[in-house]
Amino acid sequence: MIEYILKLIPAMLSGLEITLSIFSLTLLFSIPLGILVAVGRLSKLKPLVKVIEFYIWVMRGTPLLLQIIFIYFGLPIIGITFERFPAALIAFILNYTAYFGEIFRGGIASIDKGQYEAAKVLGFTSAQTFIRIILPQMIKIVLPSVANEVITLVKDTALVYVVGLGELLRSGKIASNRDASLVPLVMVGVFYLALTWVLTKLFQRIEKRYAYYQ
């Protein structure tokens, strides 16, 4: 048994590598982009607001799976082709940017307008106000929602199997089919649980760090 598990580990680790790549690259891009989307959505530029609203509506109103399929299998029909990994990553970034954008927008909008006014009379520019006053307060407000979204992202990474990327779940499924064994699937579950556990702890620590004020 132990021997069997050890034998499976290399394949799973290479699956985990893809899972973690999708996970971390999605976060790396979609969090900053989400902030831009939130700022754009709250701006007074009507056309920009409309475009962003439409984008968010589409991204949240259709399954992520469809978005991945659309980019990898659909776009080549009109001559736009991506490799498996970039195709999946683009879909994830577009999708999660929309969700983060909405979370950040809510966070920014909940900050009292007196904060902007106080900054303004002290001579802050809009950019300084955003970076020094609004953003730090927004982070605290959105942390719980962001934590949720990040946990969801861990599990969503399994969707990249559809383009044939060998991520964690796929590596487990292959082994399970081949050996007619449940063990690989249980191991996959354990990997996901370990990941989400680490992330939950991490977010608890970040939330503690922001608990110094109310």
């Binding site: 007196g114 006014e117 002290l122 006053i133 730090p136 110094y212 004020y213």
Partner: protein, 249 residues
């Protein structure tokens, strides 16, 4: 003259909130603007601090034009660089204080001097500590706003507004969050600032407080100044029936 306001007009959605408001504020003077709720008092302060743009009128802060009347057209405003210099000359204490909750008391005070005006941190801290000592807040330097009482928050807001050595200090309803004991404290603080030569523009509907600290009083009604005079003239010899009723309560 520190501050001159002339012909100030402002409408919100077609409703005229300020009608031809004009007054002057001098060095070391405490000017109280009183009047009913909705009479336009806060809007005057917001125009002076450029939080709203007036429709017409001229505002001059210590010789620098903030906005200039253009007769039939909207007033023209100073360019951003000049605006920053004007902001430095104005201090504003909001009714709700608007302290930055994620910053300590000290950080609240030095934030603008250091990050907007490029003053060296030690120098800014020294000034902040002096202000905190003057306002009896030495032991709150590293506290966060949520840990302070209403009166303490207000004093921090005053310290923050004082950090850039403004010439004019605007206070919107400074006594509304305070019990009577603390009112005396804030009266003393305001007087101290005026003694240092600051001009104080004070909005209040607390008659007793206006009587206690003001040198001069302006009475507003429906966006217009309907009475102006020294404190003595205003409280002891007022003729206007409406004002009498308001003053007596």
């Amino acid at each position: 003259m520190l501050l001159k306001v002339e012909g100030l007009c402002k409408s919100f959605k077609g409703k005229q909130v300020l009608k031809n408001v004009g007054f002057a504020l001098h060095c070391g003077e405490i000017l109280a603007i009183i009047g009913r709720s909705g009479s336009g008092k806060t809007t005057i302060l917001r125009c002076i601090n450029n939080l709203v743009k007036c429709d017409r009128g001229t505002i001059i802060v210590d010789g620098t034009v903030l906005c200039k009347d253009q007769q039939e057209e909207k007033s023209v405003y100073a360019k951003p660089a000049e605006m920053l210099q004007i902001r430095k000359k104005l201090g504003m204490v909001f009714q709700s204080f608007n302290l930055f909750p994620h910053m300590s008391v000290l950080e609240n005070i030095i934030e603008a001097p250091v990050h907007v005006f490029g003053i060296a941190r030690p120098e800014a801290e020294e000034k902040a500590n002096a202000l905190l000592a003057m306002l009896d807040l030495q032991d709150k330097t590293s506290a966060y706003p949520f840990e302070l009482s209403g009166g303490q928050k207000q004093r921090v807001a005053i310290a923050r507004a004082c950090a850039l050595n403004p010439l004019v200090m605007c206070l919107d309803e400074p006594t509304s969050a305070l019990d009577p004991e603390l009112r005396e404290g804030i009266a003393v603080t305001i007087e101290k600032l005026a003694e240092q030569g600051m001009g104080i523009l004070l909005i209040t509907h607390d008659m007793a407080f206006a009587k206690r600290v003001a040198h001069r009083v302006i009475f507003m009604e429906a966006g217009q100044i309907i009475e102006e005079g020294s404190k003595e003239e205003f409280f002891d010899h007022v003729e206007n029936e409406k004002i009498k009723k308001f003053v007596i309560g």
